[in-house]
């Protein structure tokens, strides 16, 4: 046996299957989809946004709309569900009624020019009514990102600011947290450590503990445990990691965080020590990808 045998599939086998050939159905569909893209990304005001804005304005009554003359996307929009205000590179969001229909949220985001859909996402009890995501299933300009800043001083259910590239025209799917069913995976894992400053005795002070201690605690609570091992790869503290099966985890390693991933499950995040070379552990299958935004 040699390294060649470790290849999960070989080109000469793959080419015998239609899927391995450029003439296959999937390959053709992908080619057509790519070639349908404009080759030079042009940053210009989107005509489609204007259409969304006007359509929403025309059909809705009980809303606040602040637009710009001659059909630019509206800059402010509010209905019973949510209030939105757009700026240069951001959208301010105030969720008025998390129980409102997802369609009411969708309508508001579309009115301010986003090709958005809003869906209810399963979350931990403390995240119910909060904004989840966004998920960007389309192509996102490289070198840019989306950040969500939560505003603590909020009179409504949730206030915050989404920073994202101006004129982003791809699909955006936002979630509004709904209580997850027992055992249903949370769209947003919840950190169990460190405890909140307001309650230093609360929470699970797992950070810095040995894995074996945390494991005992979690097993006592009847929680299923998965492990995520992280390596600090760069001087700025950023790094990467992946899931690793329990059998490869040393009980003496140090826990960086414990995140609740469902009502009955936790993910123990471990900061690999200097004696564990980066990416040296066998990789376990990752947890199932979130599907709430596709349902």
């Amino acid at each position: 046996m040699n390294i060649v045998d470790l290849a999960r599939v070989r080109d000469e086998e793959l080419v015998k299957e239609p899927v391995g050939r450029p003439s296959g159905t999937g390959a053709r569909a992908l080619l057509e989809s790519i070639m349908a893209e404009e080759r030079t990304p042009v940053r210009r005001p989107s005509v489609r946004r204007r259409a969304f804005g006007l359509a929403a304005v025309a059909t809705l009554a009980a809303v606040l709309v602040v637009g710009v003359p001659f059909g630019g996307p509206v800059t402010e929009y509010a209905n019973a569900a949510v209030s939105l205000k757009t700026g240069g590179n951001y959208i301010e969001v105030v969720i008025n009624d998390p129980e409102a229909d997802a369609a009411a949220f969708t309508e508001a985001f579309r009115a301010v020019g986003l090709d958005a859909e809003v869906k209810k996402a399963p979350v931990a009890p403390e995240d119910v009514g909060k904004l989840v995501g966004p998920v960007l299933p389309g192509d996102f300009p490289t070198g840019t990102g989306v950040t969500i800043t939560h505003e603590d001083n909020c009179a409504s259910a949730w206030c915050g600011k989404i920073s994202m590239p101006v004129h982003y025209t791809g699909k955006v799917v936002f979630g509004i947290g709904r209580p997850a069913a027992p055992g249903e995976r949370y769209a947003t894992p919840v950190s169990m450590s460190p405890p909140p400053e307001s309650d230093p005795l609360g929470g699970d002070k797992a950070r810095g503990k040995r894995v074996s201690e945390v494991r005992t605690d979690m097993e006592r609570l009847g929680l299923k445990i998965s492990y995520l091992v992280m390596w600090q790869l760069k001087p700025d503290g950023s790094g990467g990691g992946y899931n690793v099966d329990a059998e490869h985890i040393d009980g003496d390693w140090t826990v960086a965080d414990v995140r609740k991933t469902a009502s009955d499950a936790v993910e123990v995040m471990i900061q690999a020590g200097p004696d564990v070379p980066p990416n040296s552990l066998p990789q376990a299958p990752p947890p199932p990808a979130a599907t709430w935004w596709q349902d």
Binding site: N2, A27, L31, P137, P288
Partner: protein, 180 residues
């Protein structure tokens, strides 16, 4: 160049698609992730067509892009759900791909996976993509000499790791189709 962009891209796609899909499937446990890597890589090629070199060099350029796409791919993140829908369905319906084993649990597999990522990729490019040091140099954007040295060192480290695990490595590191 004299060829319209559409024709040129179709030519590159036609000659590299299978090998790029193979490259991605060998490195992703989930075929859906592999489909996403293929889509992202070709989309980058489409947008930066002027940068894609001619002939077989295009394939090496695509491997280099795919390597970066893989490095940036976040767990569970699918950027091209819609454009890969048919491809994913076809992959799922193809027993060769759908029934692929998970991680190789043999001793050799474990030792290989325990190597530093760069070593693994170098040895994989030799053994799986059957590239020579000059081609690997172009995939990685380094000189041919640097590629030779890195492959030599990766192979040494692999041999040492195999020896430490008690595996007879004389055949394990005999890389098929290469003079290394």
């Amino acid at each position: 160049m004299g060829v319209d962009p559409g024709s040129r891209f179709e030519e590159i796609y036609g000659s590299s698609y299978g090998q790029l899909l193979g490259y991605a499937l060998r490195r992703c446990l989930d075929p859906d992730d592999a489909a996403d890597v293929v889509a992202e890589t070709f989309l980058i090629a489409w947008r930066r067509l002027e940068e894609v070199p001619e002939g077989d060099e295009a394939r090496l350029w695509l491997f280099g892009v795919a390597r970066k796409v893989l490095a940036n791919q976040r767990r569970g993140e699918r950027r091209h759900e819609r454009r890969t829908a048919a491809l994913r369905a076809e992959l799922a319906a193809t027993p060769l791909v759908a029934d692929l084993p998970g991680e190789d649990l043999s001793q050799l597999g474990q030792v290989f996976r325990a190597l530093p990522e760069d070593d693994r990729e170098l040895l994989a490019l030799v053994a799986w993509e059957r590239l020579d040091p000059g081609q690997i140099a172009r995939v990685l954007g380094i000189t041919r000499n640097a590629a030779r040295v890195r492959i030599y060192r990766a192979r040494k480290r692999f041999a040492r790791a195999l020896a430490a695990a008690g595996i007879d490595h004389s055949r394990a590191v005999a890389l098929e189709g290469s003079g290394l």
